[in-house]
C-alpha cells in the first residue's frame, strides 16, 4: 500500500507545484509557432505562390519543358540506383556489426558516419580528383572512353557517398536490440540462411528498414552540394531537379525554378507524412 501512496504523490506533485505559470506556456508555444511559421511555412508558401505567379498554364508548361523532364528523369534514375544499393549495403553492414565480433568494429561504425560529417562539396570534389580529367584515373578513363565526372555515373557515385549511412544507421541499433536468438531458433528448426533472413530477420527489421529507405530516398533526390560539383550543369543531360532549380533561377526563369522547387517541396511533405506514419506504426508495436 505504501508504494501506491508514494507514486500518487510523485505524479501529483509536478502538476500542482512545479507547473509553469500560464504566461510562460503561452509565450513558449507562441514563439515556437511563430518561428516555425516564419522559417518553414512561409518559405514553403512562397515557393507555391511564385510557382503559380503566372497561372496554371505557365506552371504546367514549365514543368513539361524537356529540360525539366530530363532533370526529373535523372533524379528518379539516381534514386532508383542509389536507394537499392544503399539498402543492400545498410543491411549487410548492420548484419556484420550487430552479429559478428571482429577487430576494428568500432572504427567501422565510426567510418560509416563519415558522410554525415564531411561537407557534401568535399565529397563531390573527391570524385573529381579521382575520376576527373586531371585526376588519378583521368588518363586511363579517357583512353578507354569512359565518362564518370560531368556525367551520370559521377552523379550516382556522389549521391551514393552522401546517402550510404542512412539505412545502416537505422538498422545497427535495431538489430543489436533484437539480438540473434530468433535467427538461431529458425536455423535449429531447419530453415536455410535465406529462409531465416526473409522470414525472421526481415519482418523484424522492416519498419526500421523502411524508415531508413525513406530518409535515404529523400536525400538522394534532394542532394545538391556533392552532385553540383560532379555534374557540370549540362542542361537536359546532367542536371538533377535540385540543380535545375538553381540553373533556372540564375537565368531569371522564376516560374520554372519555383515550379521545379514545388516538386521537391511536395516530395519533402510526402516524406514527412510517411515518416510520421512509420513512427506511429513503430510506437504501436512497442
Amino acid at each position: 500500500m505504501s508504494t501506491t501512496v508514494v507514486s500518487q504523490k510523485a505524479i501529483a506533485a509536478p502538476t500542482r507545484n512545479l507547473a509553469d505559470p500560464d504566461w510562460v506556456r503561452y509565450t513558449l508555444v507562441g514563439a515556437t509557432l511563430a518561428i516555425i511559421g516564419l522559417f518553414l511555412i512561409l518559405p514553403l508558401a512562397t515557393v507555391l505562390i511564385s510557382a503559380f505567379a503566372k497561372g496554371w498554364t505557365a506552371y504546367s508548361s514549365s514543368l513539361s519543358h524537356p529540360d525539366t523532364l530530363a532533370a526529373i528523369r535523372l533524379t528518379l534514375l539516381t534514386a532508383l540506383i542509389t536507394v537499392p544499393l544503399t539498402t543492400v549495403f545498410g543491411v549487410s553492414a548492420a548484419w556484420a556489426i550487430a552479429r559478428f565480433q571482429f577487430r576494428g568494429k568500432s572504427l567501422l561504425v565510426t567510418l560509416i558516419d563519415l558522410p554525415f560529417s564531411v561537407s557534401p562539396v568535399i565529397a563531390g570534389l573527391i570524385y573529381v580528383l579521382i575520376f576527373g580529367a586531371q585526376g588519378w584515373l583521368g588518363p586511363w578513363l579517357s583512353d578507354h572512353d569512359i565518362k564518370i565526372v560531368f556525367a551520370v555515373p559521377g552523379i550516382i557515385l556522389a549521391t551514393l557517398f552522401v546517402t550510404f549511412p542512412f539505412v545502416a544507421r537505422e538498422l545497427i541499433p535495431l538489430m543489436q536490440e533484437i539480438g540473434h536468438e530468433e535467427e538461431e531458433a529458425a536455423l535449429s528448426l531447419g530453415a536455410s540462411g535465406l529462409q531465416t533472413f526473409f522470414r525472421i530477420t526481415l519482418p523484424n527489421i522492416k519498419w526500421g528498414l523502411l524508415y531508413g529507405v525513406l530518409l535515404c530516398n529523400a536525400r538522394a533526390m534532394g542532394e545538391f552540394g556533392a552532385v553540383s560539383v560532379v555534374s557540370g550543369h549540362i542542361r537536359g543531360l546532367t542536371n538533377t531537379l535540385p540543380l535545375h532549380v538553381e540553373v533556372s533561377y540564375n537565368e531569371y526563369d522564376f516560374v520554372g525554378s519555383f515550379a521545379s522547387a514545388s516538386l521537391l517541396a511536395a516530395l519533402a511533405i510526402v516524406t514527412l507524412v510517411l515518416k510520421a506514419l512509420l513512427e506511429w506504426q513503430q510506437q504501436g508495436k512497442h
Partner: protein
Amino acid sequence: MSITLQHISKHFGAFSALDDINLDIPEGELVALLGPSGCGKTTLLRIIAGLEHADEGQVFLKGDDVTRKPVKNRQIGFVFQHYALFRHMTVFDNIAFGLRVKPRKERPSESQIREKVHALLNLVQLDWLHDRFPDQLSGGQRQRIALARALAVEPSVLLLDEPFGALDASVRKDLRLWLRHLHHELNVTSIFVTHDQEEAMEVASQIVVLNHGKIEQKGTPSEIYDHPGSDFVSRFIGQTNVFHLKQEDNAWLQTAGIALDDPQGIIVHVRPHHIAVEKAADPANAPVYLHDWQHLGGTIRLELNRPGVNGSAATLYAEMPNEQFKELALQKGDRVALKIKHAHWFN
C-alpha cells in the same frame, strides 16, 4: 539418439570455457548439465546443437560425426532460455515454422501441418492460445510454446537452455514435473542446462556436474548426492558442513565419532541430516550448544555452535524430523552431544 562428446575444448580469448570434455549420453536419457554460472554448461549445449563450434574435439549423434554439420542438419530441437519465439508470428505459425521451411518434397500439406500443430498444442495443453502473439502470453505459456515448436520437427535430441530460469517459482515447480512426465511420454534424448541443483535432482535421470569447463562428476541424482566425487560436488549439491581437521577440533570431533588420525583426508563434509543430536548427558564436558533453530516444514534445522580457535564460535548445521525435535524438547543454549553418522572425506 545417443550423444557422444570427445575431447571438446573451447576458448574465448584467453578464457578456457571448456577443457577436454568427454561424455556419453545413452539414448532416451534426461540429462542435466549442472554447474555455477560461467562453468561452460551453456557453451557445451550450444556446441552439441551446432550453434557454436568447438576449437577441438568431436560431437557424435547416434555414432555419426556431426562436428562439421550445420545446426539445420543435426535434427535437434533447441529451447532457448528466453524462448526466442518469433514475435511477428502467431503461436500457430511459430509451431508450424519448422514444417513450412522444409524442402518442397518433404513438406507436409497445409492440412497435415494444421493437424500436427493442433496435436502439439494439445500436448502442451495450450490449444486455446493458437491465434495469440508471443507478447500476449505469460512466461510459462511461452516456455511451453517454445517446446512445442522444437518438437514439431520431431527432433531426435531435445536441448533446453535454462528452461525454467526466467519463470516464477510456483510456475517453475509445475513445469519441472510436467517436463519430466513429458519426457517419459516422448522418450526423446534430452539435455537441459541449469544452475539450480534442486531442479537437476528433481527432473533429471542423469546429472553432469560441470565446474571451470571440466566435468566434475556424472551420475544419477542419488549417486551424486550420496557419493559426491569431489569437494566441489559435495558443496554444490545440497547442504553440507565442511570441517577442516585441526588439532583444536580434535576433542569434540572424537566425541562425535570421528578420529583425527583417520587416514582418509583432512577435509570432512557432513550433511546436516547425517548429524544425530541428543541432549548432553554430561553438560560440563559437552562443548557444543544449540544457538538457534529454524522451521523448514517437515524438518527442523538446528544451528549449533562449537567453540573454535581463540574463543571464537563456529556454526554447524544439523537437521532432524519435526517430531523428533519436539520429543527432545531442547532449549536455546542447551548443551548437546553429537553423533556423526556418515561423512565424506576429501584431500
